[in-house]
């Protein structure tokens, strides 16, 4: 299978102190890692594409490690995560689905409390396209305070024969969460849901 050719990477760290309410002493941090890679299947229909999943694993692990480093180096601070992909116009939506396993399992390999499925989204788009990457609690999907989303995008990507793959991690709940539901302090943490 083809090599993964990375044209560009982008790392973003948000530090959120407040959103009109009490100012947090420690900001909520949200990190995004994006990689702009060549789409080896662009421009034609390719039936067999699953081999690229294994090819993407090293990139996924690198991006997950970069996120943890951007958050200070301690993986135990991670409480939420998500993933997504934007496919350039020469590709098809199905190509984005190749990111599910290498993106998700890379983060779950490095984040200690990660029983929950990694939420995801995908689309086809051009350079500058924005993607709202969903975020949920990493150990129990129903934790309401941790439902969030991070908008990502790059002004010059993806070009037609490229794809942008994204991983995101957060260090806590929404900054002024108060919508009830399952609390992080009450989770059992066995089934990944509650």
């Amino acid at each position: 299978m083809p090599d993964v050719i990375v044209r560009k990477t982008v790392i973003v760290v948000d530090e959120i102190y407040h959103e009109g309410g009490p100012v947090a002493s420690e900001p909520l941090r949200r990190a995004s890692a994006l990689a702009v890679i060549e789409n080896p299947f662009a421009g034609r229909f390719v039936e067999e594409i699953t081999g690229f999943i294994d090819d993407l694993k090293p990139l996924g692990l690198q991006m997950a490690a970069d996120l943890i480093a951007a958050l200070g180096g301690d993986a135990s601070v991670v409480e939420g995560y998500g993933k997504g992909a934007i496919i350039g116009e020469g590709g098809e939506l199905e190509h984005a689905a190749l990111w599910h396993a290498p993106g998700g399992y890379s983060m779950r390999e490095l984040v200690p409390a990660s029983k929950a499925i990694v939420p995801s989204t995908k689309k086809v788009g051009g350079p500058g396209c924005r993607l709202d990457v969903p975020v949920t609690h990493s150990n129990a999907s129903y934790v309401r305070s941790h439902f969030d989303a991070i908008e990502v995008g790059i002004n010059d990507a993806p070009k037609a024969d490229e794809m942008v793959v994204a991983l995101v991690m957060t260090t806590g709940p929404r900054i002024h969460h108060r919508a009830g539901g399952l609390q992080a302090s009450d989770i059992v943490g066995e089934d990944g849901l509650k």
């Binding site: 044209r7 560009k8 973003v12 102190y17 002004n155």
Partner: protein, 195 residues
């Protein structure tokens, strides 16, 4: 006590490994750090803008340091820089000028060591999610042609009407494939800020 009322800070590092099929080795890297702050003068005309000048001084150091840290470089390894602000709809373009121009430069220059050149800048009024293109120029010699560049930043929830987005950019390199001639970084004296 912080002068700026900061709602959030977004720090971005972009690394380019390949440009139009050619490998860039070492990759070019640029960082932006953007603070979203309350505009103390939103919704009213304020003659004296001293408070914003003090905020600019504070943010020049804070955001400059964040860029350098995000690039993982020593201050002396920084090669170019820039600054920009986008003022939410209840503010005034002059608010951006008060933050950017009087006092932001000195602490930024301390963050990147030296910095003989003018810090290139841009400013605009804008709303949430709008792109802000932050200019970039060589930090010691403004005429170095390989380092003229710009970096787009945007935050989907900023600036709100009563907020200002303040951005600093720092790089450890010029454009990925510079080849339009002019003064080269290796030939710059870096004394007068121009050449």
């Amino acid at each position: 006590m912080s002068k700026a009322k900061i709602r959030k800070i977004v720090t971005v590092v972009e690394q380019t490994n390949i440009e139009i099929g050619k490998s860039i080795d070492p990759p070019t890297r640029r960082a932006a750090s953007v603070a979203v702050i309350e505009n103390p003068f939103a919704g009213k005309y304020q003659e004296d803008l001293e408070e914003l000048m003090a905020i600019g001084e504070e943010l020049g150091g804070l955001l400059g340091d964040k860029c350098v840290a995000a690039l993982g470089i020593t201050p002396s390894q920084a090669e170019s820089y820039g600054k920009a602000a986008m003022v939410g709809e209840n503010g005034e373009l002059e608010h951006a000028a008060a933050i950017l121009h009087p006092r932001l430069g000195k602490p930024l220059r301390a963050a990147v060591e030296k910095g003989a050149a003018l810090v290139p800048s841009s400013k605009k009024m804008g709303s949430m999610g709008q792109p802000l293109d932050v200019p970039l120029g060589h930090k010691d010699a403004a005429y170095v042609r390989s380092h003229f560049d710009g970096m787009e930043v945007r935050i989907n929830d900023a600036p709100r009407a009563n907020e200002i987005m303040v951005a600093i950019t720092v790089t450890d390199s010029g454009r990925p494939l510079p080849r339009v001639g002019g003064l080269e970084a290796k030939d710059a004296e870096g004394k007068d800020g121009l050449r």
